[in-house]
């Protein structure tokens, strides 16, 4: 059985508009995917595609309007907070902005010690030993224990954030843009650390990022999102070398490559992401799609199997096969 199974996740937000009208923003429109133990799934897409909303639903910072989030055999999508609390240990999150993700009034030891106090019955000696162990695990020294977040470098802050999540001994770690606030040299360090921890602890990641090069580096499988839906999902190599959905293709083509010899003449995707308020009737990508035909405007596009473990939501590129 999969470690995490997400089915038909939907989430809307009310936005206040002038004149007393409230409008509905359709942030997630039926997101489904599974994550197997030990693998890393990447969620990619541009701003407003719903990747962060998905993350927030997974750790139940948000309550989805509809759908299921199976963690093992437990559906946490609609659990009330008290029932959810003991389960939170199994599913942790690392946040985007290291300096904002640590309570400025707690020392490193307090921050890492908090989940230990919440979820484990430890004596003071045991707890200290565990804190030391965690610090060493993420490459911080014992002397960092009594520091406050503002006394740490940004890289060190992110390590504390990781250690705090690991203190719960989670089965699944959601990484929400963990490297996008970091400079190149610090970013490399954090990515290496995450890889190392995955190897040594056998932990499962959901890695959310808009940075496709990082995703290619660290993920086993990738899901590409657009307007609150997954448009393509599959093994990383497959997605990056032969994408099936025109959006994935365009997205990959848009990422600049640090090699002047490859200066491109690739086509550039025109237009901007459409509004989440008036969702298109047919294919979500219709307005910007370079290969669209008239039928796309009215035909909704569900994911179709495009190969082993590879699905894409485009009936032009992925013809229906007899046996699915």
């Amino acid at each position: 059985m999969s470690l995490l199974r997400v089915e038909g996740l939907r989430k809307t937000f009310k936005v206040k508009e002038g004149g007393g009208r409230d409008r509905t923003l359709f942030a997630l429109n039926g997101v489904s995917f599974t994550v197997e133990a030990g693998e890393t799934l990447g969620l990619v897409g541009e701003s407003g595609c719903g990747k962060s909303t998905t993350a927030r639903c997974l750790v139940r910072l948000l309550r989805p309007d509809a759908g299921h989030i199976w963690i093992g055999d437990q559906d946490i999508a609609a659990l009330p907070e008290p029932a959810l609390r003991p389960l939170r240990r199994r599913l942790q999150m690392v946040f985007q902005d290291p300096s904002d993700s640590l309570n400025p009034r707690l020392t490193v030891a307090d921050a890492i010690g908090e989940p230990l106090a919440l979820h484990f019955q430890l004596g003071p000696g045991e707890r200290l030993a565990r804190i030391r162990e965690l610090l060493a695990l993420v490459g911080l020294k014992d002397e960092h224990r009594d520091r406050y977040p503002h006394q740490l470098s940004i890289g060190q802050q992110q390590r504390v954030g990781v250690a705090r999540a690991l203190a719960c001994e989670p089965e699944l770690l959601i990484l929400d843009e963990p490297t996008s606030a970091l400079d190149v040299s610090v970013r490399g360090m954090v990515i290496r650390l995450l890889e190392e921890l995955r190897a040594s602890l056998g932990i499962t990641y959901v890695f959310i990022s808009h940075d496709l090069s990082v995703v290619r580096h660290i993920c086993h499988r990738v899901a590409v999102m657009y307007l609150g839906a997954i448009v393509e999902i599959g093994p990383t190599d497959r997605i990056f070398s032969s994408p099936s959905h025109p959006y994935t293709e365009a997205l990959l083509a848009a990422v600049p490559v640090p090699d002047p010899r490859q200066r491109r003449t690739r086509p550039i995707l025109a237009g901007e992401v459409s509004s989440l308020v008036d969702l298109p009737k047919g294919c979500f990508f219709f307005a910007r799609c370079p290969v669209r035909i008239d039928a796309c405007a009215t035909t909704p596009q569900p994911l179709r199997e495009a190969g082993a473990g590879h699905e894409a939501a485009c009936f032009l590129r992925v013809p229906e096969r007899a046996a699915v």
């Binding site: 541009e46 701003s47 060493a136 695990l137 993420v138 490459g139 911080l140 470098s153 890289g155 060190q156 390590r159 400079d183 190149v184 040299s185 970013r187 490399g188 360090m189 990515i191 290496r192 650390l193 190392e196 808009h210 940075d211 496709l212 090069s213 990082v214 290619r216 580096h217 990056f240 365009a250 997205l251 990959l252 083509a253 848009a254 990422v255 600049p256 490559v257 640090p258 090699d259 002047p260 010899r261 490859q262 200066r263 491109r264 550039i268 995707l269 025109a270 901007e272 992401v273």
Partner: protein
């Protein structure tokens, strides 16, 4: 090629309550007409300050302590505020990172356009409106008439950046300073903006200084690249040379640690942290993180060495291929080290 802009030994300091921050520590930079130069470096390396210094807009309490900024043979550091102001917008224009906040929220786009046009004694009235309309069309804005009537909050980020580019280029400047113009913008939009900038500057033969931390962006549109570290340019040259054969250990580290979307490779780490610019290290600023640092590096300021035609590096060993083999070996070793064991 005629040099349009020549910055020599520029020093910039920020007195703060904790001490003086040595933001720029001898920047040397040249830019020829029509060239696109990428200025790359990490946060706090002094990229933006170099651009601000060029147009005389260093935010207070920053102060240029020494150096020369030569524009067409004239030293801008001696120019009066009025002279600089005439220069800005007409000969040198600038665009910034956050397009939405760079436009005044209380004025319509047409009003803002008009203020800029008037500042440069350009056309007035109907002619001015026609010109604004034309510029907006040129930067690929559909329905310019509606956009001119709009206020910034009614427009998307991409639209705002196009408008800023249109304004910046409407005076046909000879130099465009672009300070992280696509940072924080989605990749598909970034691709549009970069292409737009490249086409426009090519058609007007505008020299461009593109400030970014993204080596991919530089490779995409720049002719030359300058790498900054701790308030100094450590290496500079044609993009093909720098990406193909970087000779400063920092440039090498930077390129090695940049991940690519088109291939999978082991990730490299530059150990250590950037120096504290309140007390900048003497001699070579990079030596504490450098895989090939030797005793000299702590004693002597590294000279600028021309390592190949038009490629300069500020390193004692820039011309020493033997040293580079050693650096290469060290990088290979680092790849096997657990990240926990590296100093942070």
């Amino acid at each position: 090629m005629a040099k349009l802009l020549r910055i020599r030994d520029l020093h910039l300091r920020f007195p703060t309550f904790r001490g003086t921050v040595h933001a720029l520590n001898g920047v040397d930079l040249t830019l020829g007409a029509g060239q696109i130069l990428g200025l790359v470096g990490e946060t706090g390396s002094g990229k933006s300050m170099t651009a601000y210094a060029t147009v005389g807009l260093v935010p207070p309490p920053g102060r240029i302590t020494s150096g020369v900024i030569e524009w067409n043979g004239r030293n801008l550091l001696r120019a009066t505020d009025a002279e600089l102001q005439r220069l800005r917008g007409q000969e040198i224009s600038m665009i910034f990172q956050s397009p939405r906040t760079s436009l005044n929220p209380l004025f319509s786009i047409a009003q803002q356009f008009e203020i800029y046009q008037r500042a440069h004694g350009q056309a007035k009235g109907a002619a001015a409106r026609a010109q604004a309309h034309g510029m907006l069309e040129r930067v690929g804005i559909p329905d310019p008439r509606r956009v001119l009537r709009s206020y910034p909050h009614e427009l998307s980020t991409g639209m705002c950046q196009r408008i800023l580019i249109a304004m910046a280029l409407s005076g046909r400047p000879r130099l465009l300073l672009a300070d992280e113009p696509t940072t924080g913008i989605d990749v598909t939009l970034q691709a549009q903006i970069l292409r737009l900038v490249r086409e426009l500057v090519a058609s007007q033969n505008t020299a461009t200084l593109l400030i970014t931390h993204d080596l991919g962006v530089v490779a995409e549109i720049c002719d030359r690249v300058a790498v900054m570290y701790a308030g100094r340019i450590v290496e500079e040259g044609p993009v093909e040379r720098i990406y193909g054969d970087p000779r400063h250990p920092y440039t090498q580290g930077l390129i090695a640690s940049t991940l690519r979307v088109d291939e999978q490779k082991p990730i490299h780490i530059i150990p250590g942290v950037v120096p504290n610019l309140l007390v900048p290290p003497s001699a070579c600023m990079f030596r504490e993180r450098c895989p090939i640092a030797a005793a000299t590096c702590a004693q002597l300021e590294p000279p600028i060495v021309e390592v190949s035609l038009g490629q300069h590096a500020r390193c004692h060993f820039a011309a020493d291929t033997g040293a580079f083999a050693a650096a290469e070996r060290q990088r290979a070793q680092l790849a096997g080290v657990r990240p926990q064991d590296l100093t942070v």
